[in-house]
């Protein structure tokens, strides 16, 4: 056997996603609103379903509703829709109990733009 290690340290330039990546690291919810039809995507889509490639950044409150959740050895994740967004996204669910359906995006606590949702304080349980 040939043993070979390949240490890799990527320096990923986020390009057009830079505002979004930086906002996620701060725990903020920056969505993209289509200039033509106003559709709001979070995670942002560069080209809208209507075909328009021009968008403006729009801050959302950061609160979301859990549509589907999965748990197990791979962790606890959910497909959620952030308030005022027209698309859904997958987030890590942190501290969610079975009845929790509402949450708020929190800073990931590191340099990676991880989407982490914690139960919204005082939110009604389903």
């Amino acid at each position: 056997m040939i043993k070979r290690e390949l240490p890799l340290e990527y320096r990923l330039a986020p390009g057009w996603l830079t505002p979004w990546i930086e906002s996620v690291v701060r725990g903020e919810t920056l969505a993209r609103s289509c200039r033509a039809c106003g559709r709001i995507s979070f995670v942002p889509e560069r080209v809208c379903e209507c075909g328009c490639a021009e968008g403006i950044w729009k801050s959302l409150p950061g609160t979301a509703t859990v549509i589907r959740r999965t748990f197990g050895a791979d962790g606890s994740f959910g497909l959620v829709r952030f308030d005022y967004a027209d698309t859904c996204t997958v987030v890590e669910l942190d501290g969610f109990e079975l009845g929790n359906r509402r949450g708020k995006l929190v800073p990931p606590g590191g340099h990676l733009p991880k989407l982490i949702l914690q139960p919204e304080f005082g939110a009604a349980s389903a």
């Binding site: 889509e45 996204t89 991880k114």
Partner: protein
Amino acid sequence: MVSVIGASLTEFGRRKDGSSFRDWAADAFESALSMSGLERSDIDLLACSSESDFFTFQLNPASVIAGDLGLTGAASMRVEGGGASGQLAVHSAVNAIRSGQAKRAAVVGFDPSASQLSAAAVKELYCLSFDAWTDGMTGTSSTVLYALSFQFFMETRGLDERHLAQVTIQNRDNALSNAKAHLGRRHSAQEIYASPIIASPYRRLHCSPLSDGAAAIILSERNSAPNQRRNAPRIVGIGASSDKPRLGARNAPGEFRSKTAAMKIACASAGLTPADIGLAEIYDAYAGAQLQAIEALGFTDDIICDLERDAFRPGGRLPVNLSGGLMGQGAPAGAIGVGQTANCALFLEGLHYSELQPASPPKYALADTHGGVCTTSAVTILGVGL
């Protein structure tokens, strides 16, 4: 018309015999070439499929494979589309022959998905199969995304864990008849229900394994095939399509829409409908994904009713994954699509080594793959006796 005049698969599994993907690729190629009746000098195009340089530790793998196979001088390329890599390589070769750029092509798929890296490393790499900048950064695994997608499908169709168990039991049982399969097993439903939850509703036994292996086919323009192989199965239709890579951006996260689109293209080019297909090798990365695929491909209007009627078992209306599929036969990423096409050709010709080889093979078979959570879809329809 493009004919599949040679087809071969190596054993799929976790190889611990000191052999490498270069050996497996050579084994599969030599066997397929022998079946074709061609000489290696007859091959003017090599299309390789391998999902990741991380797996092989080899950039530009087609160049070294061409050298190993004695195909220096032939055009060579590596085709990649995640789990669909193998089918896309088949399509590339078919298109090259149809366009007149090649007369006889070898398609060789391979990947050391099991033995060269730790399972944890491979799992981390597979997280990059989706949108690595968003879902990947959040740490979602392949199983997490497939599980979320299946939950939508499961709820709207009224499916439950009994149906997931049925698929698991069937595919692993089919693999028992395939001497080259990775995971031939006789599972009980209770054993499946007791296996650890990876991402609900998926348990460990609902997942396909990481496998090593290779597969190869030899394609020829009909009139350029040796006389004894002029009646070999033909590729009568190909189709490919794509969906949004992020599940959350899709309007219907539980539907495999790119697969439906790919199937429509393939059927239109073949002049067929899904009802004409008599056997299918389907991309069952997870048990539920097989059910989503069967419906997306147009093989059922009522998935529960057809499962209860054993429509997809050996001897049923449409036998699915007689080889065992990814769950039973195994899943060396780059080899999957090529292996499916090889399986279909061998089954149609009555030459498959599986004990499940139908005594009266159907006229048409379908090979179906996708990458991502059905983001990149590619299907191939084969026919015989045309």
